[in-house]
Symmetry: none
Subunit: 226 residues, 4 copies
DNA sequence: CTGTAAACGAGACGGTACGTCCTGTCTTTGA
DNA sequence: TCAAAGACAGGACGTACCGTCTCGTTTACAG
């Protein structure tokens, strides 16, 4: 029932968010699509102001100028609404085409870092606030993983592949693994730091970890390996 | 109010977990110390079965065969109880002395991995479920960081330093950063995988990321480097 | 607003139920008069099946094959609809001319009872269910009193007057009061009985109360009266 | 479950309202019996001020200084609460012993009328407001019939029996039926009058209906009866 | 025959009450 | 004095219904 009932954001890949809608006309009043946005906006605001627990469904409805029924007609539960609000809000997603080819891996990473900062910093933090709650719902959890993990890793991997094509990265490296290192370190650092990002951390990470790891020659396996 | 009221786990450094308690006799019934364990066990079970939201205080008390008041006499809130349950349960902590010196970084890491598996696998997973909630409480958050981040990174760093002393790791590497890579990748992988650890992932991580990163020669900085 | 909007039943005396309507033509689609009946029928059914609370406006519209707007275009509220449904349905009203002159009060009453049974039994019962709700609306309440109280008492009074003309009932009796006794007992009995009418109750009432009361000689007032 | 859970008023005959209660002691906080009264009082007030629909459960809890859970722990639904409030409030119930023996039926009735006015006038009116709603619940309906119908009829019957013993009322009269006439007329009159009682109505009823009916000689059955 | 106005079925809307559940506190009885 | 049991205030959740409004379609008069 739900895949069609709910707004499409959480259930489809973004590129085609609403699949051309109902081809045949249905009777009855149309849903006010503007309400979706109003509700999501209200949700996001309240999430930021008061946290997940303070984000009351009544408050959401109220601030969105909607009735609770309207909210529940579109999202089946508070968790799903919060999840959708966070996912949808990741306004732009970076793709490899957004990252300029600077001619070096190090340059590309620096460029990427600048783009990413502009795009989705605040959201990542808000996300942490609902992460554990969102995990209860397996479907939502999958979407979240897609949105917040795989997309980052994918972008990083594309950058690495470009560097490999350029000859910077030797063949035979486990790019999948290496692509995870950046995002992983970033989020682990935030974990260890109470959510804040230390000045200069990203640069240090790029210079001390990612670039060396990607560009150094493969170490020969020890003879009697394991 | 709390430092004395609550079991010591969350408020003191582990070495002296329960401060020998009151030696002199007080009037009245003694606290049943066994109840602490029953409550923590119940908490952990429910956390695993139903997640943080499903872990009701009533259910905890019920399963522990205790009254709610008993629970609240020992822990000041649900969050703290959940936090304590997770922290306390990390029965043993590894130190560098527990990791045998196999003569190679790769061997040490493999040994460490075997030890760690025995010790604290299940718990790390349960942790993910309460992470964000636990963050609300700054004191708890600090303990958690200590327990789940710094201790891992510290151990890893010690292993790296041993390898450096052995001559495997070149001087001048940012060991702090490199030590984070292992734990970060592990937890990020679990995040991306819904909590489960893919077969062979750790080995791949050791061979493709940590060992190369630690042992390869530093790459020369590009000429016009920032 | 309403007198013209709504079907005429509740606002006009029955004899001219729908005042020949607008002779001049207006543009636009005509109201489907058949829908009135469908809606009233649905209302009555649901009232009987589920009571006033269970009689949802959505359910009424649904069962009548109508939209809610259609219902609300014709009746301004749920109460009024329920009221109308009950009132309109009292298909025929008995008048003194319908009651054959059997030559005795007792015979006339028996005849009347047979007629009344045919006419409006089920409805009286449904009525009880909305009585108190209907009271909120003063206009509706007035109609209801007219329909369900005065009409019965009026008929009974006519029968009593015929008996008085016949010489059965002594002059000087308070016919107004006596005429109320029958209807009052009937409805009170239903109240006390959960809506059902005990077998033989009407006959007993006629023989033990109405006839004796109407025909006996007036009792002499006690000497030092009040 | 419910008979014991709820306060006893609606489920037991008043004389032994709470059946000696729990003989053995149970652990746990006792129910605050004062809350019962506070809640019932709040209910009654709100019922009077705003009617049944306006009597919100939240408002009741609020005014009673209680939580909604406390209300719902004691009454299973709004209807039951309203019902109980009305029934319990009939502070005193008249019995035949309260009606002085004036030596004549007419005098007894006048005395009874004075007593009844003092005791339960307002309540009868409030009752009308919930009657139809209360009817949905068969158990409550039965209690209401008991309280508001049978008790009145019973008292009236006792007065008639006393008059019969005195010789005022001939043997062989259908006292059950005659006892209903008074209450029936009264409530029917209120029905027809929008709830208000016309000045002098009761006296007229006593003199023109009840006394004549009870004291007149039985009319001979017509020969060829029906 | 075409335009326009109204009524139609469907169903979304704002609002609001209901009854359930959970947290953290308080009270009672027993050990 | 502490324990178990459980009642308490408060407040959020998700459901249901009322009366209104908006769609896109159908009907019927007007020109």
């Amino acid at each position: 029932m739900s895949a069609q009932e709910r707004p499409a954001e959480l259930t489809a890949e973004r590129p085609v968010p609403r699949p051309a809608a109902r081809p045949a006309a249905r009777p009855g009043r149309r849903r006010d699509e503007a309400k979706d946005d109003a509700i999501l906006a209200a949700t996001l605001e309240l999430l930021a102001e008061r946290g997940y627990d303070g984000m009351t469904m009544d408050a959401v409805a109220d601030r969105a100028g909607a009735g609770k029924a309207t909210v529940y007609r579109r999202w089946p539960s508070k968790v799903r609404l919060a999840a959708d609000a966070l996912v949808c809000n990741r306004s732009a997603r970076l793709s490899i085409d957004d990252v300029p080819d600077t001619g070096s891996l190090r340059g590309d990473l620096a460029a990427m870092r600048r783009l990413a900062t502009r795009v989705n910093n605040a959201n990542d933090d808000a996300l942490t606030g609902v992460w554990s709650i969102v995990q209860d719902d397996p479907e939502v959890a999958a979407i979240f993983r897609e949105q917040f993990v795989k997309s980052k890793v994918g972008l990083m991997r594309a950058v690495l592949e470009r560097a490999q094509a350029r000859g910077e990265v030797p063949a035979g490296r486990d790019l999948e693994m290496i692509a995870m290192v950046g995002p992983a370190l970033l989020s682990y650092h935030k974990l260890a730091n109470g959510g804040s990002l230390e000045e200069g951390f990203v640069e240090r990470m790029i210079d001390e970890v990612i670039v060396p790891l990607a560009t150094c020659a493969p170490v020969p396996e020890p003879a009697g390996s394991r």
